[in-house]
């Protein structure tokens, strides 16, 4: 370092104006931290949901009355099985249950554990615990959000549901799902299908909706038409519809924040420009002195460019690192509620670290280019004036 007088002079300049640079770095950190946090949350949710949607059933069939979903009759299952090309036709029984009226809602999900796939899944979920023990009485597995709510209301071992008939149904809590699945299981209460029917008031001849798969993608549109022509009050939702809606949901939110960021960065640049446009007399004198000592305009610009670059790089690395820790280590408290909603059961989710290099480079360019421009333009204006005038 000592071998380069230019570099030594550059570092000396930065150290001398430490206070000014710390102020600029602090404002930059706030802007970069917020933008990076939002983009990290958005890309993580997008990635996780996209990968999970691959295992989603290709079609979901519902019954609609008056524009509202109502329970579908079980005989629809046979009709759907008869359509050539359909596979894994599965009835689903689920619904929202008010833990506290108008405030906290859980999603009660009934699972048919006699189904081989569900049985194997349950074995994986409860690990080395005895499966028979779970199935022998009224028990349920709850997500972390539900578990926290129940514990805070002194239901640590069991919960008494009120059925639509007004009777109480006591169900024991068998296991809590871990935080790693909270993104989808936070508000879930998983229980055997017959118990869920009782809690939700779904009779044996009805199901909430029916999920099915069509292995051949080319047949999707024709099978969708066939299903829709079966009944007048049927609604078919395809996996493509669901994917499109999620894309819109998170792009809309990410896009909204990007617009806000652009407004913030323009304001930030204007402040910087104004700050440097009124270059203090000491700085004007410094530039004039350098010019009088024989420095060329490009030398002065190079010095200021490198000085700004040091500030930009420090701000960028620290700002992005703070956002990474906030989102992927701490779980983005408060900010994640904007994406997942904060009116219902509280979220404490573990977000999958996803860092998209194109997003990072966009952040860097969006931040660095206006910043460097807002510093160099006023410096250039001073540097091209006569040194005598500049030093006045």
């Amino acid at each position: 370092m000592r071998s380069s007088p230019f570099l030594y002079f550059l570092l000396l300049g930065i150290a001398r104006q430490k206070g000014k640079h710390i102020g600029v770095v602090s404002i930059s950190l706030v802007v970069l931290f917020l933008l990076s946090s939002v983009l990290f949350i958005s890309s993580s949710l997008h990635h996780t949901i996209s990968s999970q949607l691959e295992s989603e059933p290709d079609f979901v069939v519902q019954r609609i009355r008056g524009g509202v979903r109502v329970d579908a009759p079980v005989e629809w299952i046979d009709k759907l099985v008869d359509i050539y090309g359909t596979k894994s036709v599965t009835p689903r029984v689920y619904g929202r249950y008010a833990l506290s009226p108008k405030h906290e809602w859980a999603l009660v999900v009934g699972v048919d554990f006699t189904d081989e796939q569900s049985h194997k899944g349950l074995e994986k979920l409860i690990g080395d615990t005895n499966l028979k023990q779970f199935l022998k009485s009224d028990q349920m597995i709850v997500g972390q959000g539900v578990a926290r709510y129940l514990k805070s209301h002194f239901y640590s071992d069991s919960y008494s549901f009120m059925t639509p008939e007004g009777a109480f149904k006591k169900v024991d809590i068998f296991k809590e799902l871990s935080d790693s699945s909270s993104l989808i299981s936070n508000n879930m209460m998983i229980m055997p299908i017959d118990l869920a029917r009782e809690v939700l008031g779904v009779d044996d001849e009805s199901v909430t909706d029916i999920a099915l798969s069509v292995p051949n993608d080319d047949e999707w549109s024709s099978i969708e038409d066939k299903i829709e022509s079966l009944y007048y009050d049927i609604r078919v939702i395809t996996k493509t519809d669901v994917k499109r809606i999620y894309e819109n949901l998170y792009n809309y939110k990410g896009g909204l924040f990007l617009v806000l960021f652009l407004i913030a960065i323009v304001t930030f640049s204007l402040i910087l420009y104004q700050r440097y446009a009124m270059v203090y007399s000491t700085e004007r004198r410094e530039i004039g002195l350098l010019r009088a000592l024989g420095w060329s305009i490009s030398d002065v610009l190079r010095l200021k460019f490198l000085e700004t670059l040091v500030v930009v790089v420090i701000s960028f690395v620290v700002g992005v690192a703070m956002a990474y820790i906030y989102v992927f280590v701490l779980g983005a408290p408060l900010l994640v509620d904007i994406f997942l909603g904060g009116d219902n059961l509280s979220h404490r989710i573990q977000l999958l670290p996803v860092v998209d290099l194109s997003v990072l480079s966009s952040i860097f360019l969006l931040y660095a280019v206006p910043f460097v421009a807002s510093v160099l333009i006023p410096v250039w204006r001073v540097a091209v004036t006569d040194p005598k005038e500049a030093m006045l």
């Binding site: 689920y94 936070n186 420090i314 690395v317 509620d337």
Partner: protein, 84 residues
């Protein structure tokens, strides 16, 4: 002064190395496994959105509220996942 900048450079490099190590060593498989298992037994893989009880639960409401940006969902449409 040179020492001060040396410290800053080392600190920045440590941050980059530390976060890279966290990113690379994160157990993605374990996390995806439990979400996958829950999704496998419930046939539900939608995120557990914390929405209010009064929010719309309709997926097929295709009316747009913004002519310039018809894809923008209504504010009360986050609840659609329960009805999909």
């Amino acid at each position: 002064m040179n020492r001060l900048f040396g410290v800053v450079v080392v600190a920045l490099l440590s941050i980059v190395v530390g976060l890279s190590a966290h990113y690379l060593s994160f157990d993605r498989e374990a996390m995806g496994k439990e979400i996958g298992t829950v999704s496998q037994i419930t046939y539900i893989s939608a995120p557990a959105l914390g929405v209010s009880y009064f929010e719309s639960a309709s997926l097929v409401d295709k009316d747009s509220i913004n002519i310039a940006y018809p894809e923008m969902p209504r504010a009360g449409k986050m609840d659609f996942i329960y009805e999909k």
